[in-house]
């Protein structure tokens, strides 16, 4: 098993023109590790996620799963390898937590098959792992943002894939729930052997928690452990220097005081 990017260039295209957003990437996502994707707005974080998920086609190169281009892997097989948490809202939030999590079992169902004992076990396990017991029959619209995010992770978990890809899982969450979610992701890596890739704006938390970081800047991307990226000075060039600067001693981003100019 391996998830790799080979000469991958991502962006949008239609019949007339293509617009490159980021790349080329040439890297292998480390197995059973937590990898954070960072970069400022518009750097291509979500575009990368959607290219992995096949919602977007790559402009050049490929996303490889086990050395095979992901475009060539049949839909149902891909759904058993990669699961996702997106930022999109549901067209119906009138489903219960249990129903939402149960939809993670879709790739294992035929039209006629009722959920098997195995399905029921997976769903239950995902609910317990994400601490959603007691909320099974609660409707999604009645959940708090933190619970909602956990329910979506439970849905992905029920899909039983070795890779989990999460787009901005921590937006809208307060510090308490961010911490909870980070420890949940780490638990998934350590206890369930998942390989997790997530995008985030919270670079400070990524530096202290993620095993690897993929940093996207306008013309280059950097991939390494947080410590090495600090040594390389990547965080210093992530944002315009005159407004935001990085303090390596505290791993903090600081805003420059406009008055001190």
């Amino acid at each position: 098993m391996a998830l790799e990017f080979k000469d991958l260039i991502i962006g949008y295209k239609n019949s007339r023109k293509s617009q490159q957003i980021a790349g080329p990437f040439d890297l292998k996502i480390p197995e059973k590790k937590l990898t954070a994707v960072i970069g400022k707005n518009g750097a291509g974080k979500t575009t990368l996620i959607k290219t992995i998920g096949q919602q977007l086609k790559s402009l050049n190169g490929a996303v490889l799963l086990d050395s095979q281009s992901i475009e060539k892997i049949p839909n149902d097989q891909r759904a058993r390898l990669l699961s996702f948490v997106f930022t999109t809202t549901l067209s119906s939030e009138n489903m219960s937590v249990y129903e939402l999590v149960a939809l993670g079992r879709y790739p294992f169902l035929n039209w006629y098959s009722k959920p098997s004992k195995k399905d029921a076990e997976c769903i239950q396990e995902a609910i317990v792992f994400t601490a959603l017991e007691g909320l099974e029959n609660t409707k999604i619209h009645a959940l708090s943002d933190g619970q909602k995010q956990r329910a979506f992770i439970a849905r992905a978990l029920a899909q039983e894939t070795p890779y989990m890809i999460l787009d901005e899982p921590m937006s809208h969450l307060d510090h308490h729930h961010k911490a909870q979610l980070l420890s949940l992701m780490k638990k998934l890596v350590n206890e369930k052997d998942k390989t997790i890739v997530y995008t985030t704006h919270d670079i400070e938390k990524a530096i202290t928690n993620a095993d690897f970081i993929l940093a996207l800047t306008e013309d280059k991307s950097f991939f390494n452990t947080p410590d090495n990226l600090i040594k390389e000075g990547v965080f210093d060039i992530l944002f315009p220097q005159e407004q935001v600067y990085f303090n390596p001693a505290t791993s903090q981003f600081l805003y420059r005081d406009p008055k001190s100019k």
Binding site: K50, G53, Q54, Q55, N75, D76, Q77, R78, A79, R80, L82, S83, F84, F86, T88, T89, L90, S91, S92, E93, N94, M95, E99, L103, Y106, P107, L109, W111, Y112, E136, H141, Q159
Partner: protein, 344 residues
């Protein structure tokens, strides 16, 4: 945890079943001549036919009409549900694709522009002519929309294209109406009122076949429809091919709504309203519940609407198209005000 839900489910279907039987019997009993339930049961289950005029009315007029109401109500509701889920839009109904406008255009061309189209429809078709003209109209629109659908990724664009086809057809119908004679205009207006009472058992068989195929396709796609509620990104991530699914749903809806419009006229409203009633009453978005309840509820709704349209105790029959909305709108409004929120 699962047991009480199962019992609840059984009670729900039992209730709907009883309601359905009652509505069916009442529908047969109401009309220009009121027939008692006892007479109906005797006539249907009795040892031999008594050869009285009531028997004739029951077997040749009332029962076919009641069966038509069941097929039409169930079919429109299920196609409305399919469109709302596919387009992720609570305002979608069986006719958003322009299918009914296409059928209207076909019927209008035949009824009001007979001189132009008459050559293509031979005389021996008789009663079937309007049906065939309407079918050609609705299936042409369906064909165009399905072709466009294979090229377009965005379902919202498809929705607007359907609406545009609707406007185009209505414009053409208006022009036809402007130039047509008083008699043919009246005939066309009557067609638009909808009529459940004109179908022979052969017609019902054909209509039933189309509606059954469409309903079967929906039932087979229960899991897919549920997954569609997650939105396109999630649907793709679960291995669903959006193009294939959209096309399947479009064709199923087209078969149902197209054939219904061709046979009984453009009966609106029901397809939009019944899925919402089911969602609100059972407080769910799960198609495992919504598909069977919409089928049953649609049939019940149509039977009741038709019973009201018969104006019990009078020889007049009101346009069914008006009654469905007159009877249904207050129910939907009441449910919405009470529940205070709408979700797909």
């Amino acid at each position: 945890m699962t047991r009480p839900i199962n019992t609840k489910r059984k009670i729900r279907y039992l209730l709907l079943g009883v309601l359905f039987l009652m509505a069916f019997l009442i529908n047969i009993s109401f009309g220009s001549v009121e027939i008692s339930i006892k007479t109906i049961l005797e006539s249907v289950f009795g040892p031999t036919t008594h050869n009285n005029p009531l028997d004739y009315i029951i077997h040749h007029y009332r029962i076919p009409k009641a069966i038509t109401a069941v097929v039409v109500g169930a079919g429109l509701s299920i196609s409305g549900l399919l469109m709302q889920t596919l387009f992720k839009n609570p305002l979608a109904g069986p006719y958003v694709l322009g299918i009914s406008s296409g059928a209207s255009l076909g019927a209008a061309l035949y009824i009001m522009g007979a001189a132009a189209l008459g050559a293509f429809l031979p005389q021996w078709l008789g009663n079937w002519s309007t049906t065939i003209a309407a079918s050609i109209g609705s299936f042409s629109v369906l064909f165009i929309v399905a072709t466009v659908a294979t090229r377009i990724k965005n379902t919202m664009a498809l929705l607007i294209i359907g609406l545009m086809f609707g406007s185009l057809s209505s414009a053409l119908v208006s022009i036809l109406a402007f130039f047509s004679s008083k008699e043919s205009l009246q005939k066309f207006v009557f067609w638009t009122y909808g009529n459940l009472g004109n179908l022979s058992f052969t017609d019902i068989g054909i209509l039933g076949l189309f509606v059954s195929i469409g309903s079967l396709v929906s039932i087979l796609n229960t899991n897919v429809l549920n997954a569609m509620l997650l939105g396109n990104d999630y649907a793709i991530s679960l291995g669903i091919s959006l193009k294939k699914t959209s096309l399947t749903i479009l064709i199923a809806t087209g078969l149902i709504a197209g054939s219904i419009t061709a046979f009984v006229g453009p009966i609106a409203f029901l397809g939009l309203a019944v899925p919402h009633i089911c969602r609100l009453v059972w407080n769910t978005s799960n198609h495992k519940i919504l598909i069977p309840t919409s089928l049953l509820m649609g049939a019940i709704f149509m039977l009741i609407s038709d019973s009201i349209a018969q104006l019990p105790g009078s020889a007049n029959v009101l346009p069914i198209n008006a009654i469905t909305a007159l009877f249904g709108s207050p129910i939907v409004i009441w449910l919405l005000v009470r529940k205070k929120q709408i979700q797909l």
